[in-house]
Structure formats: C-alpha cells, structure tokens
Amino acid sequence: MAMKFSKKNFTDRTKDNISDDFMRQAVASAQERLHGRRLDAAEELGSWEEWRSHGEEIRQHVLENLDYYLHQLSENVSQRGGHVFFAMTAEEASEYIRDVIKKKEGKKVVKSKSMVTEEINLNNVLEEAGCEVIETDLGEYILQVDDHDPPSHIVAPALHKNREQIREVFAEKLDYHNTSKPEELALHAREKLRQEFLDADIGITGCNFAIAETGSISLVTNEGNARLVSALPKTQITVMGMERVVPSFEEFEVLVSLLTRSAVGQKLTSYVTALTGPRDEGDVDGPEEFHLVIVDNGRSEILGTEFQSVLQCIRCAACVNVCPVYRHIGGHSYGSIYSGPIGAVLSPLLGGYDDFKELPFASTLCGACTDACPVKIPLHELLHSHRRIMVEEEGRSPISERLAMKAFGIGASSNPLYSMGSKVASTAMKPLTKNDRISKGPGPLKDWTDLREFPAVGNTRFRDWFYDQKGGK
C-alpha cells in the first residue's frame, strides 16, 4: 500500500465514512479510552509540561543536527557488522530491500508494524517479486487477511472493524470456527502466526527510535511480534524514517516514556527492545545479517521550512485521539496512511497538494492536537500554514470562494456599490428566506445549508440602524 490508498475524492470518502455508524461509534469510544488513559498517565507523572518541553528540546536538537547523528548512527551500525543503506526515494528503499531478499533467496517474509514500509509500498514490491509477506501485528494481520483493507489509525490500524466483522473475515479466509470473542480470535492468530515466524527467512521491522551513540534500533510493542520478527529469521531488515534518531540512551528513554504514555497510557509497553547489529558471536538467536534502511522520501524537503517541526513527530497518535474531525470522519476519509491532524499536516508535505489539498481545510483549528502533542508540534498552526500557502501562493482555493471573495472585494471597496449591495441584499435573498432563516442556499452556500440553516439578511442595515440610534446625529 502506498501512502495514498484511495482513488475517490475527499467528499466521497467522507460521505461513505460518515454514514458508517459502527465505525463512528468505534472511533468515538476508542478516542475516549485512549484519551482518558493518556490523561491519567500524564497526571500520574506530575510534571507533564516539563516532560513535553524536554521531548521538544531533544527532537529540535536532533533535527538541527540530523546529518551529524545519522552519520554517527551509520558508523556505529556498520562497526557492529550491520549494513546501512541511505534511500532518497521510496523506490530506492523498496528495491534495495527486494534485492537483499533476492540475494538471500528469501521466500517468506514476516513483518512487524511499520508505517514507513507502507509509505514506500514495500509489500507490493515484494509480492510482485514472488515473496510471501505476512503482517504479524494483530491489527495489521486482520487488515491483510481482509484483502488489504487500509489502516485507519497509526497505532490501532483495525480500529474501524468490529469483532463480528473480524470473525467473518477469519472464518472465510482462515478456516476459523470459534466465536467473536477477542481472546479466541487473538489465540487463533497466535497459532497461525507462530509457525510463520519459525519458517520465515526474512524479518522486516520498523524502528521507533534509532540510537546514534550505540548504533542501536528500538522496537516498542505490546504483542511481542516485533521480538519474534527480530529473533527468529536469519536476516533482519529494519526500515526507518530518517528523522527517527536520538543521540543516546539518555534521550531514548525519555522519548519512549513520552511515546508509551501518549499512545496507550502505559508507563512502558510490554516490550521495549533495543537491538544492536546482527547477533553477537556465540549468540544462537537473532539475525545473522542485519540491514538498516534509512528513508528520506520527501522528508529533507521539509527541513529548513516553516514545517520542520512536523518531523519532531514520534507517531504516538495522541493528536488523532483528541481530534473532533477524525472522530466524525474516521481514518479512511483522509485517503492517506497518515490520518488525523498529523496526517493532515504530513500527507500534503510527503504526497503533495494535488492529492491531499483538502486535508488542512478539514479542521476546526481548535488546537486540541497541539495541546496533546508530547513533543509540542504546533499542529493547528501548521494546518493554518498549509491553508495560507494554498490560497496565497498556489491559488488553490475553490473557484466559488475565489469569485465570491473577488465580488466582495469589488463591492466593499466602492462606497456606492457597497451601499447599493447592502440595501438590496435583504430583497434579493427573500425568495430563499423562511421565518428569517435560509435553509436551501444557492451555490457555495449550499454546503452549509445542507447541514444547518443560515440566518437571513435583516431588513434593516446596520448602517441605518446605527444612524437611527444616534437620532440622525
């Protein structure tokens, strides 16, 4: 799956999703749970603002010195016997990985959850090359078994599905005969996947943070699948977005603490694993060969711009879990693997305005995302920056809006025109008015009046009213 997964336009996507009652209810309850847990975890810690400031200063320092830390990271990985490949583009990354697998004559690939591998369309490239690719995170596995349904949340990818739907998918595709109890479904996945882990020749993981000082990569999970992916296959390939590096273990632990609390409200997840190079001499488990693929794919273009802070992101989804827009339209409406506020900022940067121009406008600019962000990315300000650039620099506002603004500009800049316009407004709108409300607006007003009424233009102009109040003085 590439970053963009839908050919439908934004309006049609949201229409489909807004009428999906189960999805909307599932999203609302998930948001409440995750948001509540995050608040509890933050409160328990006491000085949450202090933690956020620390997270921010670490991430800012890394981005300002990113070339240095990536250099140090790659030196240390190779010193421990690992192979580092710097990939400018998605294609370079996925082709390198395909070639490594070919050379190892790999057939079966097990993967732990990784957004960046979705971004570089890795599964398709590997499947076309004849590999069997198995997603092992329970949520991702459910989606894969269900004919590659796209993820709708960056932490809980199958959030939009209910247990009955999952049972049906398992029954149809995996010969499953039990009930829709989550425990039974999960046990079935465990049994199915355990053998895959043991048989696989290649393990592919993402990377939550890479540690420059030691050349380590880290994996943060609850299920243990990333541990299996990195312990059993002979070859391990780890793919990371280039910004996901920290100077040392000192900063690593702070960001992990922020990540697990913000994502799921846990002090630490069940497994936090720091891996350095391939297995050491004498080790029995762990990979014999280790590759680290560091992906740019548009990220460097963000550096040095007003959007640089978006690269501070640690992919916790706290912003998604508080967003009122996400709550109503769900993850699939965004049409990008990155949904919610972070997706609305990041998708146009990585994928371009042509495909994702609506996302920054699908926001109330309420700022809840900014408040929730553990590394203090000013998300709503960045959404606003996108809007400004699209309107001012790219001339991408809708035609109706441009015409209306132009007409208003002409009318408002001339005294006689303004005077006449405001006088006839009330009469002109009369055919549409009922009980002082307009409920069926024309043209650009229609989108508004489809959902709610618009107050009719008053009979008395403000100017006239003001004049009367002052008794003509």
């Binding site: 749970r33 810690l45 202090e50 400031s53 620390h54 010195n65 070339d67 240095y68 250099h71 790659s74 990985v77 421990r80 016997g81 580092v84 710097f86 400018m88 370079e92 092992t136 329970l138 949520g139 199958a158 247990r163 999952i166 989550p182 355990r194 882990f197 030691t214 380590s216 609850n222 299920e223 243990g224 699948n225 541990r227 299996l228 990195s230 312990a231 059993l232 040392s248 273990f249 632990e253 702070v254 992990v256 603490s257 002090k267 630490l268 997840t269 069940s270 497994y271 720091a274 891996l275 350095t276 190079g277 391939p278 297995r279 050491d280 080790d283 029995v284 560091i294 273009e301 550096l303």
Partner: protein, 238 residues
C-alpha cells in the same frame, strides 16, 4: 563481521543544504534545560520501590511473589507447578547456583519428570526448538524498574532472546537489589558500560508483564505472540 554503508554522502549533504549550512563533523550535546525524569522516585528507599512495583504489577496483569533466598526453591517450585510444570526453558546463568537453585534444577525437577533445558549455545538452533516447546521460560532480571514494573534482560551467548519470548508462561527472578526507580537508571547503567569500554549487548529487552493487544475493539487481550502469563518472584537479598 564487517558492515557497510551505501549512498551516505549525497544523502547527508542534502540534509545540510536544506538546513542552510555545511555538513557537521562535530556536535556537542547541549545540557538539557529540562530533566524531569531525574526527579521520579528520586528519594525512594529500596522498600518504597518494592511497594511501587507491587502496585504496578496489578496494572500489568503480572503475579508477584515475595520470598527469601532460603525459601526461593519452594516459591519457584510452586509457581512452576501452578503453571502446569515442564518443559522448562532457562538461561545458562550462574545466578541459579548462587541463589541455591541447583538442587531444584538438577535433581528435584528431573526426578518428577519435569524437563529442564538450560540454554547451551553449542547445541545451536536446537535451543530455539526447546524454548518453543517449553511451557515456562525462566530468567533472572538484570535490572528491575519499579515505576513501570519492568525487568531488563541483557542477552548473550548463554542468555538467548527466545527464553523470555517463546514459552507459554514466563517467570522472572528478581533479586530485590536490582530494583531502581525507572528506565532512566537503566539507561545510565548502559551508558556507564559504554564509557568503560564495553559494548552494548546485541539485544536488550525491557519486559513489562505478559504480551497483550487491544487491536480488536480496543478490548485488552492478555497473551498474543509472547507469553500468555507472567510472574515475578522477588528475592530478599538486601
């Protein structure tokens, strides 16, 4: 083992150019303005930390048993039997002897037909098979984080990654003296090793209870790919 690096220069040059400067050869890490992690449980005594761990174990669905060094064989035997006995998968670790468990491992359990497999790197892949078949995996904790209820395991040739991962159940033996406030102290210890010229092990695991998932309707399921149940046995040693 020799590693390699490909395509680095152009990649890093582009980053530097975007940042409007030459590539950096040296960077001093700043003294961070904020260090809230240093204050967490800073004044806690070892008994306070144990209490924090007890409370946290409820959150992470992990049973906690407290015992003395003398009674450890009895306590461990009870937990093993409560989980249904063998086969067992263990690290090859001198601490089993130091904590008086040799008799249990080498005599008592075998006489009860409880299969005990200690990691033996000369057996190669066979170790993984044995761990996969095991009902229970048992390791010591190298460091124990009170705040999160986490055991820290450093892997090595004698201490395979699979022991705490593949069996259906997992038991961590926690000498009370390994308790520290939080992951901050573990990071400090790792950096101290580095400064002393040691290299970090190929795998460090921070394990917090059994594996779990909330991917189906946000319902917590305990036990997914890793162990389905976990117990901590805290040993009074200080």
């Amino acid at each position: 083992m020799v590693g390699s690096i490909q395509n680095r220069d152009a990649f890093l040059d582009k980053i530097a150019a975007q940042l409007g400067r030459e590539p950096k050869k040296k960077v001093e890490k700043p003294i961070w303005k904020h260090q809230p992690q240093r204050t967490v449980l800073a004044d806690a005594s070892i008994d306070d930390l144990l209490e924090v761990l007890r409370v946290q174990c409820e959150q992470i669905h992990t049973d906690i048993v407290e015992t003395t060094k003398e009674l450890l064989p009895v306590a461990l035997d009870e937990v093993v039997k409560a989980y249904g006995g063998g086969p067992l998968s263990l690290w090859k670790d001198e601490r089993f002897g130091e904590y008086g468990l040799s008799d249990l491992l080498e005599t008592k359990w075998p006489s009860e037909q409880i299969e005990v497999n200690s990691w033996n790197s000369s057996l190669g892949e066979k170790n993984i098979e044995l761990a996969e078949r095991a009902n229970i995996g048992i390791t010591f904790s190298d460091m124990t984080l009170a705040e999160s209820g986490t055991v820290v395991l450093f892997s090595s040739a004698d201490k395979g990654r699979s022991v705490s991962l593949l069996p259906t159940h997992y038991i961590a033996l926690i000498p009370k003296s390994t308790l520290v406030p939080r992951i901050t102290q573990a990071s400090d210890m790792i950096r101290e090793k580095l400064n002393n010229g040691e290299q970090v092990p190929s795998c460090i695991n921070f394990i917090t209870g059994p594996s779990n998932s909330a991917d189906i309707e946000m319902n917590l399921v305990i036990g997914v790919h890793g162990p389905i149940k976990a117990s901590y046995i805290v040993i009074e040693d200080c």
